[in-house]
Symmetry: C2
Subunit: 468 residues, 2 copies
């Protein structure tokens, strides 16, 4: 399987997906190893992950190099690698707290007591996407490992260069042998994983997510799907326009918009529309493409060629239907074989444009006027997706009133895309944006354990509900 470089469009990497039989042997071994891992206890598992953290840190430069080649970008990559350590720290603390509590309680019936138990799933499958190859391969993996599961991860075949480096760091930790494995492969390997694991966490497109749901259904296992988004922001007439434009630009353009929680629709109150637009255009025009070098600017290449076609198609459709370009360009530009897209602002957009309905995954900011709060809420909710959203208003109270009516899992208040930096809030994905329990906040840990209740009769004589 040959892999392209997003900055050159050239094939110069190859991956060798395992056969089903190879994968089966691997997962069988992992299931056996997990029996030991589970019994080691939480403190031992935390120590193993801390040791791994150190080794990852020692290989930081190598990992960054591989990820830079995978994605063609730099500052987001450094951020990704830096987040490994804090993620291990955070989940270690959550897990320690969780396992320190033995819940024992009396019931409403005399002599009957309950002890709450937890049994980790044996083998978790993680199928992760190309937009944040490292970060999103770990977001479910770390809590699953701490819960006591073994985890097999298949990152996207579009960004596989970091796998070898990361697997090398894992191999340094004897405790993780057979417990954590990264495998190379495409859709077929992903489908195989769904047949060989006890639970699957998938992050990616809604289209593929539906296939993964079907695979889980066929294998009769539970699933967690984190899929597409079409996040909206509402800017009221009382909003701080300086603040709103800076945050929204960041929320739309970071990682060249290649983020599920990227702002993709902007609704602005009529009274502040011109002021908002002029500041947004001014700030957008200051941003540069990260070309010719990765340090040349803020906006890296579009990583997947398939995505370039989607963005161009959506832009083309929008201009045909009357959209007006205020900043950026009419389509992605090819530079030395890589594809780039400037921070692109459109007005005169309507809800019959693909750009306002389908996930774009690019640094495109369509701006639309609204007249009443009710209208803004209707606009924001009029989508098949429900990942997250944002509201800007003078006071938190005013913003929260609107936020409570938004049909999505997380709303940033006077900021944009805060889910990227705050991991404590528990959220579900609404509508077509996903299925399954929260992947953030303390409850996310429990996804990887079956709850088990010990129901204890401590009475020494016969009980009244038995037959006489």
């Amino acid at each position: 399987m040959k892999i392209k470089n997003p900055r050159t469009g050239q094939y110069y990497y190859e991956i060798f997906p395992p056969t089903f039989e190879e994968l089966k042997d691997k997962t069988n071994f992992m299931r056996e190893s997990q029996e030991v891992w589970k019994e080691l206890g939480i403190e031992h598992r935390i120590k193993a992950l801390q040791a791994w953290k150190e080794v990852v840190n020692e290989h930081k430069e190598e990992l960054i190099d591989a990820l830079c080649m995978d994605t063609g970008r730099k500052w987001e990559t450094i951020l990704e690698v830096d987040l490994v350590a804090s993620s291990i720290e955070r989940w270690s603390n959550i897990s320690r707290d969780f396992f320190s509590i033995i819940e024992r309680k009396t019931s409403s019936i005399p002599f009957l007591e309950i002890e709450q138990g937890y049994e980790p799933y044996s083998l978790v499958g993680v199928i992760s996407p190309w937009n944040f190859p490292l970060l999103l391969s770990l977001i479910d993996t770390i809590p699953a490992l701490l819960a006591g599961c073994a985890v097999i991860v298949k990152p996207s075949e579009i960004t596989p260069r970091f796998i070898e480096v990361l697997q090398k760091t894992i191999n340094h930790i004897p405790d993780l042998l057979g417990i954590l494995n990264y495998v190379e492969g495409g859709g077929e390997t992903g489908a195989d994983l769904c047949k060989l694991t006890d639970i699957v966490c998938f992050t990616g497109s809604t289209e593929t997510g539906k296939k993964v749901y079907q695979a889980a259904c066929d294998n009769f296992i539970p699933i967690f799907l984190e899929l597409g988004g079409k996040d909206a922001v509402i800017v009221t007439e009382t909003a701080d326009i300086e603040r709103a434009t800076s945050a929204i630009l960041w929320g739309s353009v970071a990682n060249a918009g290649q983020s599920c929680l990227s702002i993709e629709r902007i609704y602005v109150h009529r009274n502040v529309y011109h002021q908002f637009l002029s500041r947004l255009v001014g700030k957008a025009n200051l941003l540069q493409l990260a070309y010719p070098t990765m340090d040349s600017g803020q906006i890296g290449p579009i990583i997947s060629e398939k995505q370039v076609a989607i963005i161009d198609n959506q832009l083309d459709d929008a201009f045909k239907k009357g959209a007006v370009l205020k900043a950026g360009s009419k389509k992605c530009e090819e530079l030395d074989g890589g594809f780039y897209c400037k921070a692109t602002i459109l007005t005169n957009v309507t809800h019959d444009m693909k750009l306002m309905n389908e996930e774009t995954f690019g640094p495109i900011l369509p701006v639309m006027i609204y007249n009443t709060t009710e209208q803004a809420i209707d606009f924001a909710n009029n989508t098949q997706y429900g990942l997250s959203g944002a509201v800007f208003a003078d006071t938190e109270e005013e913003a929260m009133k609107i936020a409570r009516k938004l049909k999505c899992g997380a709303v940033s208040i006077n900021d944009a895309a805060l889910t990227a930096v705050m991991h404590e809030g528990e959220k579900n994905s609404f509508k077509m944006s996903g299925i399954g329990g929260t992947r953030m906040g303390p409850s996310a840990l429990k996804r990887f354990m079956k709850q088990k209740a010990y129901l204890i009769n401590s009475q020494k004589v016969n009980d009244p509900w038995w037959f006489g």
Copy 2:
């Protein structure tokens, strides 16, 4: 659709399933009503359910009569009706506690705070079975209503007579208009429900559960499945045999074994086997069929004719393979058109018998000897199911050591089938016994709400992670 009476085998009731269009109109109306119900707040919803409880109580005799005709049994029916009130009480308290806490916390980043929100699913579909027609139609319905959802319930077409009476009680409560509806119908209506609701709770066979999972997958909605079981009990050589035999007999024979958490496999240590068997047979022989009248004994009819065939087939298979009858009878007996099965004890059973692998759903007690604790645990775990189990030993500590190794969601300690009377423990169904979050304990309420995180930036100046 014509319905049989389980005591006579005669058709004398008819149900009229709604068309898809009728069901669609109904669910559309329910979705509108739910918008109001959700906003009423928890205290108002509790009051509405308390009012309903009173009306159910006023119609108690009528409800018991209908359920007795549905199931052909009496004492279990009275228990079912009595449990409505306590279930509403319990869930009211849990819900009040839940909604009284507004979770607001600071994050690890200065100026960023989180408020945890919850959004009820609009419309919950409940598809419930015939073995406890009232109880199992309400087990998910009551928490879902309190969470703020509308609920549409389709009980089994085998036991539909109580629906009309219950719907009459619902119609007395104006607040529940369009919020709670019971509909008649078979598999086709169940399939329609999966297309029209936002989440489905199904209780029934693993076979049908797989179909429901597929329907949920097609509609891209989450699901909770509570399916079959093949619960095992382990009786160690230190166990109190009087206590164990009484409890196990109850756990196997109550409701004529027509319970998912019925004990269906009994593993007894070699040293106490003869003593155990002799006491179990002695007690089993004291039990009577509830024939000719419902008050004649403890064991009512087998409710579903399809189940009669399954039980007879399993018994036949067991005897052909060498099982020995110690109490009860070689097959179900037909009495005045109804089918009954005595408390039936078999020895010389082996793990290649259907009786030891497939769900029986009858008052059949196969008893098998074990030699070591490891062997007993292997025997108990050697099944495709993982609903619950039980352990009897001298001390709780001894029993818990074994219980921790059982691969199932709830283990009764020195008692049997305690899940039937204790609702506080949180449990998942393992393996083919189900998919999805716990239906018992406080967490079960959260199944009916999407979690929503409000991520609040209370800072008054620009933040460092935005573009400059």
